[in-house]
Structures are given as C-alpha cells and as structure tokens.
C-alpha cells in the first residue's frame, strides 16, 4: 500500500545544509495500522508530509500503490493535529465534510448520504448544521476525521491527531480510530510522540532515530485485535512492549546506534 524507499529531506539554514531525515525505508501493507514514534524533532511530521505529497523529498521516494508520490495521492486522506485550523470556520460541519466529495461526480442526495454516514461513524450524527467552532476540540477532530473518511480513502495518514485534546477525549478518539480501522478496512499510518498511544493503537510501531533520522527499530505489537483502555493498558504484555519502545527512544535520544 505505502512504500517508503530511502526517503530523505535536507533543509538549508544560512546556506548550510542540514539533514533532517537521512534515509528511511519501510513498507506498510494494505489494511495495516502502523504507528510512527520518535524523539521530538526527529522529522515525524516531515515524513508524513512527504508521504502525503505536501513536501518533496530531497532523495528517495514514497510510493502509494506502487506509484511515486509527487503530489497528494488519490485515495489518501490526511488528518492534521491542528483541527481548528484544518476545518474551514466559514463552513458548517456538513459543508466541511461534503467539500472533498464535490469532485467525485456524486449527486446531491448521494453526497448528503455520505456526509450523514461519515458523521454517524464518528458519533456526530445530525450535526451537519452546526458550526465547527461551536464544538469541543475532540468533536472538531471527529469532524476532521469524518471529512477524511467521507470520500472513502484507502490510506489514512494521521499527524499527531490527538496531541491537542485532553486525556479522556484522547482515549475515546483512540478507540474510535481502532474501531474505524477495523470497520472500514483502511490502512492507517499514525504519527505520535506518545509511546503508550503508539503501543495501544498499532499493530506495528516504527521507532525513528534522532536527526539525521533513520529507522531505529520496528516493534511488533502482538496485543490482538481487541483492545481496551483499562485492561490492555494494565496488561503485562503492554508494559513490556511499552518498555521496549521507551528504551529505543531513550537510546535514540542519546544518539546510540
């Protein structure tokens, strides 16, 4: 589904070239839920922007369905951290979700049905006429998720989507993502700085190094499909995986190889 092949990105400061991402290679199979974690400033967002076709890599490439990404790929949706800025405040919730459907050649009735369905999936049934700014932060991010899934993408890229909401809302949204992923069978790449979140959500966790960034480790999360905020998080298996990812990130911070 998604293939990242030796991707790297440099940036210039005062004529000096800095390497943010050295070279990253990994694959995400169809229907997988993969989390990406790393020490802060390791270029997680840069990686996501390159996969989403919003930023051109300096070297290497990202491939979606075997095609090199040189602009936002078809069938790919992005959910950003800053939901308040990502939703258009001049459009009501329904219009926000409907916007990307307009180029699909659907009838008005079909679009309405899709919007209603997407809002139902994120537990915001019947909120079409509400303005985004009348909703809580968590609900706004749900609207952004509804907008992302309404045009039925096969790949969902999420950039620290829950970093700006409170802990309880965050737990609800995590379960929502697991639920949507299982129900819709889409591929999810989830960027986070939160180790617990990555272990709780993912089938696999990719740990990045400090810049110049490379892939430091890959942890398989064998926690099974059913996850529960209380039980899963207090299980010994969770603690062990959490410790493993933690150790990798600590080592990454110290710059060990």
């Amino acid at each position: 589904m998604l293939e990242v092949a030796g991707i790297g990105r440099d940036y210039r400061v005062d004529g000096e070239v800095h390497t943010a991402i050295d070279a990253l290679t990994f694959q995400v199979a169809e229907g997988e839920l993969v989390c990406v974690v790393g020490p802060s400033g390791c270029g997680k967002t840069t990686l996501l922007r390159m996969c989403a076709g919003l930023l051109a890599p300096t070297r290497g490439a990202a491939l979606v369905d075997g095609r090199e990404v040189d602009g936002p790929p078809e069938d790919t949706a992005v959910v950003f951290q800053e939901y308040g800025r990502s939703l258009f405040p001049w459009m009501r919730v329904g219009a926000n979700v409907e916007l990307p459907l307009k180029r699909l050649g659907l009838t008005r009735a079909q679009r309405r049905e899709r919007v209603a369905e997407a809002l139902r999936l994120v537990d915001l049934e019947g909120k079409e006429r509400v303005w985004p700014w009348q909703l809580s932060g968590g609900m706004q991010q749900r609207v952004a998720i509804a907008r992302a899934i309404a045009f039925r993408p096969r790949l969902l890229l999420m950039d620290e989507p829950f970093a700006a909401v409170d802990a309880q809302t965050r737990a609800d949204l995590e379960d929502l993502i697991r639920d949507l992923w299982a129900r819709l069978g889409i591929t999810v790449v989830f960027i986070t700085h939160d180790i617990d979140e990555s272990v709780y959500l993912g089938q696999r966790v990719l740990v990045l190094s400090s810049p110049p960034t490379t892939l430091r480790a890959e942890v398989h999360i064998g926690l099974g499909p059913e996850r529960d905020q209380l039980e899963t998080r207090s299980s010994p298996a969770f603690a062990k995986l959490r410790g493993q990812v933690w150790a990798e990130i600590q080592a990454a911070k110290r710059g060990e190889t």
Binding site: R49, A52, G53, L54, G71, P72, E74, T76, A77, V78, F80, E82, R85, S86, F88, P89, W90, M91, L99, P100, K102, R103, W131, W133, R147, F151
Partner: protein, 285 residues
C-alpha cells in the same frame, strides 16, 4: 475580556448575566445605558449651538443658531432640488464604491494569488496609492467637465486602493494548515479559490469596503464642492456664496448624517456576511 465590555456585549445581544443580578430589595444603581448618554451628548451640542450665537462670542451671521439651521433644513427637505442633489451625491457614491470594490476585489485576488505579479506590481501600487485623489481634480475636469463622471473618477480612485490593499493582505493570510488540508483533499484550483482564498480574504475585503465607503462619501462631496458637479457638495458651495449660512449648515448636517448612515449600513453588512468570523460571533477563543 473586561467586565465592562462583556456587559455591553450582553446588552447588545439581549442576553442577561444572571450571576450579577442583585436579589435584594434594594436595587443597585444601574449604569446609564450608552444610548441615553449618546443622546445626551447630541442634545448638549445642539443646545450649545443654540446658545452660543446669542452671546457675543460668535457672529450669528456665520454661525446661526440651531433653530435657524433646523428651520433651513426643514425648508430644504420640502424642495425637489435638495432631493435631486442628495440623489446625485448618493449615485456618485454608490456607483463609485461599487466600481472600486469590484475592481479592488478582482484585482486583489488576481494579483495576490500570482506571486510574480504581486512582486512586479508592489512598488507601483505603493507609489500610486498615496496620491491624494483631490490632486486628480484638474484631470477630472479636463476629461469630464463638471458632470457626474468627474465625481466618479475621484471617488473610484480614492476607494479603489482601500479595497485593493486589504484584499492583497487577505489573500496572503491563508492559513498554512488550511492550505495543506485543501491540497491533501485534492481540491481543484477553482475550489481552493472559492472555498479557501476567498473566505480568508473576505474579512479583509469587508474592512476595505468599510474604509472605502467612508472615503467615497468624502470624495463625492469634495468633488462636487471643488469641481461644481451636481450634488450636495455643490449645493453647499452655492449656499455659501449666496450668503445662506443656515442652509449651508443644514446641508453639512445632512452630509454628516449620510456618513453615519453609511457606516451603520456597512457594519450591518459585515455582521451578515461574516457571521462565522470570531469578530462577529462574539465569543473569544
């Protein structure tokens, strides 16, 4: 938000803050409503206008009493010439403003969304913009004589820059996250213009319209006064040269009332168009 401001906002929206309502039998002295204070201010000014000319401080020949001015106003309101002059001024104002807003918005969006064009035009705009519209009076007279288009030229020139500069700033203000969102949703260029650039620039445009509406009125009256094209300004000049001081002041009052009406009108429009905007929806975030 200061408590004073929130009280005022609540009063405006008809809401009441229950938390501060005194429950005892002795009501606290209520603050005087702003509308009442405003009316008191107007009344005081009118009274001063009535009393001052009766003292030796001012010459009633050049500064007639309020009652004389109001009488002249009532007289004018009954005359067809007055209404024709008012219509001429409003026509020049409305037509000039419409042209300026349409051209300013269209060119602003166009120049603003094409960075090379923006860079190429920036210095020219900065040079042309500060030219006082009144400096174009000789040109207007040369081109159109003392007819309506003369007024129109000055009005359009003054109002156009107000709109253009605001829209240019507005188009630049597109939020990068919103822009990324639009790109990742694969919106077409046209959709991005209609659903992202335009709504982002709209609050700026409305500011431009508000400024332009006032400036347009100033220039309409100025042009009529200086050039002698038909309208209120021309009537003021005529009243002055024929020594009808009362009528001159009456017409000045009318021009002032027009200015207030224009401002109120544009503010109402702003509230209507920008219902979603933080400045209008009234809740600080």
């Amino acid at each position: 938000m200061s408590p004073k401001r929130s009280d005022r906002l609540n009063a405006m929206s008809g809401k009441r803050t229950h938390s501060h309502q005194p429950r005892s039998n002795r009501p606290r002295p209520r603050p005087v409503p702003p509308l009442l204070l405003g009316a008191a201010g107007v009344a005081a000014a009118l009274l001063a206008g009535q009393v001052l000319p009766l003292t030796p401080l001012v010459n009633p020949r050049y500064f007639p009493t309020t009652s004389a001015v109001l009488a002249a106003l009532a007289d004018d309101l009954a005359r067809a010439e007055f209404w024709r002059a008012l219509a001429d001024t409003m026509t020049a104002w409305a037509a000039g403003l419409a042209i300026a807003v349409a051209a300013g918005a269209a060119l602003g969006i166009l120049i603003g969304s094409l960075p090379p064009v923006r860079a190429a035009t920036a210095s020219t705009i900065e040079f042309l913009r500060p030219i006082p519209s009144v400096a174009l009076v000789p040109l207007a007279v040369l081109l159109f004589g003392t007819r309506l288009p003369s007024t129109l030229l000055l009005v359009v020139y003054a109002a156009f820059w107000q709109v253009l500069v605001q829209v240019l700033a507005g188009v630049r203000d597109v939020d990068p996250v919103a822009a990324d969102t639009a790109k990742s949703l694969r919106l077409t260029k046209w959709q991005r213009l209609a659903h992202l650039a335009w709504p982002t620039a709209l609050p700026y445009l409305m500011t431009g319209v508000r400024l332009a509406a006032t400036v347009a009125l100033v220039l309409a009256v100025t042009a009529e006064l200086v050039i002698g094209s038909p309208g209120l300004g021309h009537e003021i000049a005529v009243a002055q040269t024929s020594g009808a001081a009362e009528r001159m002041y009456a017409l000045i009052l009318v021009a002032g009332a027009l200015g207030v009406a224009v401002n109120l009108g544009v503010r109402a429009l702003e509230r209507e168009v920008l219902a979603w905007h933080p400045s209008v929806r009234g809740e600080a975030r």
